[in-house]
């Protein structure tokens, strides 16, 4: 077995800003290194490829001790919006694209984007709810087939 990574399949299960970006950065970085990459969006991670929602992904300001913000303060109206705007601004300065643009770019690199069948059923969604870059809605079994021979990363 080669010690070089040839393929990765990343599962995106969270719908918060800090839940989605790491997966996108890892997928994009893999392609930049010539590594094949698949993204599998499941549960709230589906928001990253949801036409109506992917522009409104927010930072979790409650239950996020890493922010060093009192829980009660994180729950105040507008705090999540303000913090998200602040972080987006910082990201823009570092030339990290907003989520919709980033997802589109990753699709352009040749990475495969897939939605999870069980989650799509659970939330009552259909293919039309997702951006065109989502190639298919697939079952967990089909995901494992796609991921075969590579590494799987769960985020």
């Amino acid at each position: 077995m080669s010690d070089k990574i040839e393929k990765i399949s990343i599962i995106v299960s969270k719908g918060s800003l800090e839940g989605i970006y790491p997966a996108l950065i890892m997928a994009n970085g893999a392609r930049a290194e010539g590594i094949d990459a698949n993204l599998f969006f499941t549960f709230f991670g589906l928001d990253a490829v949801h036409k109506a929602r992917h522009e409104h992904i927010k930072l979790a300001t409650v239950g996020n001790p890493g922010l060093h913000l009192a829980t009660w303060a994180g729950g105040l109206p507008g705090v999540s919006t303000v913090m998200t705007r602040y972080l987006s601004h910082k990201m823009d300065e570092l030339d990290i694209p907003p989520i919709p643009e980033f997802v589109e770019m990753i699709a352009d690199t040749g990475a495969g984007l897939y939605a999870c069948q069980a989650s799509v059923d659970l939330f009552g969604l259909s293919k039309e709810d997702f951006i065109d870059q989502v190639q298919d809605i697939i079952t967990v079994g089909e995901f494992y087939e796609l991921a075969a021979g590579g590494q799987i990363i769960f985020t």
Binding site: N28, R31, A32, G34, D95, P97, D108, T109
Partner: protein
């Protein structure tokens, strides 16, 4: 540190094959490096990127990432991956004789 011979000239390269002295690079070395790195024959579109990498490196001291290339080189991200399937910024930098661009995006 090892060396490679391109177009009849011996040049120092690092362990990944990137030039450690971009000043020693010449146009006529590019075709050979491209073949060696699996890119194959260079087209005019490849050259648009190679020249762009040289220019960016000369101005900024570092090569652009794929995202920066897609935004500023006039070649889309999609086409960049068609031209350099195994990593556009990385391969174009190697062929252009400049260090591997660092950056996560």
């Amino acid at each position: 540190m090892s060396t490679k011979v391109y177009a009849g000239t011996e040049v120092p390269v690092n362990e990944e094959g990137f030039f450690t002295d971009p000043g020693q690079w010449h146009d006529d070395m590019a075709a050979e490096i491209a073949r060696e790195s699996g890119v194959g024959e260079l087209t005019e579109r490849h050259w648009v990127i190679i020249r762009f990498m040289r220019k960016e490196f000369a101005e900024k001291g570092t090569g652009p990432t794929v995202r920066a290339l897609g935004k500023t080189s006039g070649v889309s991200v999609k086409e960049l991956y068609q031209l350099f399937p195994k990593g556009p910024a990385k391969l174009a930098a190697r062929i252009a004789g400049i260090p591997k661009p660092r950056g996560c995006i």
